[in-house]
């Protein structure tokens, strides 16, 4: 369970990235956060695993405050939260397998991970993860030999190998074409349903949000302007989140046509 209590993020230049956010995400939910660029989606997501520090408030992960955690304590909380990025963030020159195993380093001592000898169980986890996203045959390829969609699936495999209980995905399909977008979103949904991993995704496309989410959170100017089940998020609600009617480029389907 993730609880955000009165979370405010102030940037050094005085702008409020997040303004008094109160949210609770339950186990196994598939939450999609929507909003214009600059609305604070990315800041919100990165606050949850503290890639960004918040200015006020508190964020609790399974009852433990990540805001006040330090050193090893912080790393242990982060170990349970996997993250998927728009630009995949793989080491391009390393093999796919090594990129996936990188998800395991939080479980071992520095010395052990530096020798690169991972225990049998870790190897099994890595291959299992690659199998789940259907790229096990690419295990020994260099990451930059893969297409964008395949690279994002490697990133998903890394999160799976990490045995994360929460997945944060920051615009995971923004640099992918419509077809691979569907594959990656299907993978995320499948993992959410089969493993019960709480998944929070930032999305730009309204129709994708509708198709995959169980719950939608709308952000506007750093504030939550909508929080509810997907069935109740009508076109009018989206128009309110965006501050204007939905435009063509916010629909993936329209772009594909």
């Amino acid at each position: 369970m993730i609880e955000l209590r009165n979370v405010t993020k102030l940037y050094p230049n005085g702008t409020k990235g997040l303004n008094q956010i109160n949210l609770t995400f339950g186990e196994g939910e598939f939450i999609v956060i929507v909003g214009l660029s600059g609305a604070g989606k990315s800041t919100l997501l990165r606050s949850i695993n503290r890639l960004h520090d918040i200015s006020e408030g508190d964020i609790l992960i399974d009852g433990k405050s990540i805001t006040s955690a330090k050193g090893r304590q912080l790393r242990l909380i982060r170990r349970n939260i996997g993250m998927i990025f728009q630009s995949f963030n793989l080491v391009k020159r390393s093999s796919v397998l090594r990129n996936v195993l990188a998800g395991r380093v939080g479980y071992h001592s520095t010395l052990r991970t530096m020798t690169g000898r991972f225990p049998e169980r870790d190897m099994n986890l890595a291959f299992e993860a690659l199998n789940r996203v259907n790229i096990i045959e690419k295990a020994y390829s260099r990451a930059d030999e893969l297409s964008g969609g395949q690279q994002q699936r490697v990133a998903i495999a890394r999160v799976l190998a990490q045995e994360a209980k929460i997945i944060l995905a920051d615009e995971p399909v923004a640099s992918l074409d419509p077809l691979t977008t569907k594959q990656v979103m299907d993978d995320l949904k499948k993992i959410n349903l089969e493993l019960g991993i709480t998944t929070i995704v930032n999305l730009h496309y309204v129709d994708l949000a509708r198709q995959y989410a169980t719950r939608i959170v709308g952000l506007r100017g750093g504030q939550v302007v909508y929080d509810g089940p997907v069935a109740e998020a009508t076109d009018e609600i989206f128009a309110e989140i965006y501050g204007r009617p939905i435009e063509e480029d916010e629909l993936l389907g329209a772009r594909r046509a």
Binding site: I81, N89, V91, M114
Partner: protein, 263 residues
Amino acid sequence: MNTNKSLPHPKPPSKLKHYLTAAIVILLLWGSSVQTEATMGELIEGFPNMFDLLAEMFPPKWTYFDNIVGAMLETIRMALIGTTIGAILAIPVALLSASNITKSWWLRHPVRFVLNLIRTIPDLLLAAIFVAIVGIGPLPGTMALAVFSLGLIAKLSYEALESIDRGPLEAMTAVGAGSLQRIWYAVIPQIQAHFMSFTLYTFEINVRAAAVLGLVGAGGIGHYYEITLGFLEYDKTCVIILFTLGIVLLIDYSSTKLREKLL
């Protein structure tokens, strides 16, 4: 296209700056030649002397070759060991100098300052200093090359480090990795090939540098330059020059090929 004659062209910027720059450069050149008493006339006068020297160099005394093979191998060994030691020492120094790895200003800038200091000392002077400390032989030469390599490799590496993709670093932070684990998994794989390339490049330079270190008594082939030049045995000097040229070309060529494969 219909050209509009009445369209006023914007005024081009003044060329005055270029003329001034040219004038200053010419002034500097002229001033330097006056101060060093170098004249065109002297160059033309001295020209025949060069041919005399060349004539004395040929034919090269090939039998001298056997005497210098050992010294040449020593030169290469000095370069090899010096580069290796320098490269190993350069790793922590480069990591400490890179602003995206070492966030602390108080740690980064003193290290960079020392690094810049090292690079301002010419390798021949370094060798002379080490000769004064540990005595004549290949050891001071190797030490000088190690320090020189450290300066060069660390500088090139930290600049490469600062331009790495920071995405994987962010991903490793999110995974819950410690700082050494982040470097090991997100930084090293990105920099490895560059580092190898810099090291090979430094090795090329070191072979050339090691060839003259003998002039200050720091071992290697340079010592034989001094002897043969001193006894005016230019036919022997010629063998050394040709041998050095051959070795340097060979090492440069293979190292360049290797570096192409790496990147």
